[in-house]
Amino acid sequence: MAKTGTAPRRDEAERTLKAERGGAAAAAKLDRLIHERVRLGILSALAANDTLTFAELKGLLKASDGNLSVHARKLEAAQYVAVAKSFQDRVPRTEYRLTALGRRALERYLDHLEALIRAARG
């Protein structure tokens, strides 16, 4: 009786180990630059719009001016977003657009998330 009970437990343990290894491999591939919530929010919002202003992103992500600027600059430095600065009624206006590189990075990130979920399911 005891023998028949250990085999399924071993199988389950192997499956868990395999899933953990698969999950860890997928997790390692995640783009750390996108993984941060505000940056992930910026890219997701821009994926659904041609352009968004700083004010629109701020309202959407409920982020402070400083926090949003810091994260937007990191994405700009990685060339994931393009920035256009102008004036409207003498008020400075900053407009963000997702670059082709940024869109590909977001797609890759989504693929990795899905792979992670699949791996965890075993």
Binding site: S44, N49, A120
Partner: protein, 193 residues
């Protein structure tokens, strides 16, 4: 790293991406208060139109109401967008108008054609159907209540097409009057402005 928390975090991130994209693509400049005002003028137009002795007089009342609604809606939209520091013709707004305008233009053309063919009794159903179609297509890029409003208008339009001609102004009051007031109020409460 344990598989379960990893999976949960991945699923949570996917949900975050989806909800951010949904919120970002919603056209929030649809003016709820403006729609309520349009609804009130539509009630007045229905009362006035029902007292017109000729089809031409009836059409003039409703076309005037349409222009008035355009002015009220445009003004309210600009006001709401400015209050939110949004550009009036931002990406979602532009997509809304591009999807909304064709149905309205077709409605204008059919108004002339049906009047010339002496089929003005078909106008309430045609207007409600086409306006509803414009709201549904434009509303695909807007908050969820907008396409629901479009579907309601289309349903009223479909009913009006097959109902007695004498009920025309009642259908118009129900769709353009009550419809705008009800959905405008929902927009004000849920999305502000």
């Amino acid at each position: 790293m344990p598989a379960q928390p990893l999976r949960d975090r991945a699923a949570d991130n996917l949900r975050f991406i989806r909800s951010t994209m949904e919120r970002a693509s919603s056209f929030t400049a649809v003016p709820g208060r403006g729609q309520v005002a349009i609804g009130l003028t539509a009630f007045a137009a229905a009362w006035l139109a029902a007292r017109q002795p000729s089809p031409l007089g009836w059409i003039v009342v409703w076309v005037t109401e349409a222009f008035l609604a355009l002015v009220i809606g445009g003004w309210a939209m600009i006001r709401k967008a400015r209050a939110a520091a949004d550009p009036v013709l931002s990406g979602p707004a532009r997509r809304f108008w591009l999807a909304f305008a064709p149905a309205v233009l077709v409605g204008a053309l059919l108004t002339v054609a049906l009047y010339r063919a002496d089929r003005t009794a078909l106008l309430p159903g045609t207007w409600l159907l086409l306006y509803g179609t414009g709201v549904v297509t434009g509303g695909a890029f807007s908050v969820p209540v907008v396409p629901v409003m479009g579907m309601s208008l289309m349903t009223l339009g479909a009913a009006a097409l097959f109902a007695p001609a004498a009920w025309g102004d009642w259908w118009m009051a129900a769709g353009f009057g009550l419809g705008h007031i009800v959905f405008g109020t929902i927009i004000v409460r849920r999305y502000g402005g």
